[in-house]
Chain length 262, copies 2
């Protein structure tokens, strides 16, 4: 844990004794009352937290109030703006549920502005029935990636039943996430019928929208849809990569082209 992140509604209340953050602060970092730690509020600023009091469940907080389920009382002093989001929107064909968690974590770690999950023609339909989106698992995966990067911001996360629906809605069109006078660069990863290579792009001075196919790739009808919508189809190299690896590779290459990596 590179930073301890809180939801806005958690401020001013004690952190439960068994919360992973409590365990991290007390057991891993061996912090005690009076000690400081790196902290942030999701959607807000970064700064430092201070452990005000530590006690067993049912202990009294510093203001005299009982915290029936809480063991760690803390205060926050947050004045630092979070890092800017990377103006990349990634759309990806639904991966296996076990991969989806890691994919969301990694895309959040990389700092992309938005992630769209797409139903696709060659994608496994059952993958869409994931509970991750409803049970908070998706959000906790995004938070895990943000914690790694010391970020308080999360990518926006949306779901579309099909590529048709995504292209019809054009979620990137009116979005501050992918700025640029001409609108963002629109690219679909495609190692089967590419029109060029992502690595061979010149400097990109605008936002980027990246579409990554599911395991079995795009259908020819989907390729035609991309073409009609103004997407270029770009290879990620000669080797077929796993969906997760392809997402990381595409985002890193796009960041490099955008000058985001220094």
């Amino acid at each position: 844990m590179n930073i301890v992140l809180f939801e806005g509604h958690e401020i001013g209340k004690p952190l439960p004794r068994r919360d992973p953050r409590t365990l991290h602060l007390l057991k891993v970092l061996r912090k005690k009352a009076g000690d400081f730690f790196d902290a942030g509020v999701l959607g807000g600023c970064l700064g430092r937290g201070r452990i005000e009091a530590v006690g067993p469940d049912g202990s009294r907080g510093p203001d005299g109030a009982w915290g029936p389920d809480g063991a760690l009382w803390f205060s926050l002093d947050l004045r630092e703006a979070p890092p800017p989001r990377v103006p990349i929107r990634v759309a990806v064909g639904f991966p296996r549920p076990i991969q989806l968690r890691r994919l969301l974590r990694d895309l959040s770690n990389l700092g992309v502005a938005a992630v769209d999950l797409l139903g696709t023609e060659l994608g496994e339909k059952s993958y869409r029935d994931t509970k991750l989106l409803a049970d908070g698992g998706a959000r906790s995966a995004l938070i895990e990636g943000a914690v790694q990067a010391r970020d308080t911001g999360l990518p926006g996360l949306s779901v579309y039943p099909s590529l048709d629906a995504w292209l019809a809605e054009k979620p990137w069109a009116a979005s501050a996430e992918t700025p640029g006078e001409r609108g963002p660069l629109l690219a679909a990863a495609d190692n089967v019928r590419p029109g060029g290579s992502l690595a061979a792009l010149p400097l990109v001075k605008r936002g980027v929208v990246l579409a990554i196919g599911p395991e079995r790739g795009w259908s020819d009808r989907e390729r035609d849809l991309f073409e009609a919508a103004g997407f270029i189809r770009l290879s990620l190299g000669r080797r077929a990569l796993r969906t997760e690896t392809a997402c990381t590779a595409a985002v890193v290459l796009a960041m490099e082209k955008m000058g985001e990596l220094g």
Copy 2:
């Protein structure tokens, strides 16, 4: 499974009924006797396989021999050379065992020539006690990455107790894996005290050796060791990445600088 890979010693024998490859061919791809499939032999060539006979355990093979544990008899016609290996050697501080499997799979998927696992000063010592290296788990993770990439070659895999030991042995020195008149480019990923950025490197016309630290990064003594050994320390961007994501990012960026991605 983009290709069915066999070990050399498996040729000429039936594939067990419960082998994942048998299940993939018969259940997922719904192949029958007489059907062809993409195949390769580890360390050898690519081509096609043919299912010669399918039967329950104890069935007789095409040559009349009993296959007591085997259910799928196959022949191979392999004439295509595997893709060339990418002349990158990756050394990485031991990650958590659960991450190690994925890391090996992904580095194999990307096609790197060699992977060295390093004990490091800030790395968790217990991570080194992984059974993956002895029980075949590491090799099966490498094979999984090769299957994804339709490759029959695997990265060489070595273990070093410390950065000192690795730098003393210089496994890249006499190696055809990282060619180049001047020897390979030596780079250590370091977001804490970088001397430049991997993304800002010009075209690299030689092999590359990439050292990626463990979760807690390099110690200052290790930074000094790198410096004395001629390594440049390069950032992967402003955000701290997970070890696995950092490995993929560093390899993809290095491949881009080497012109390996087209």
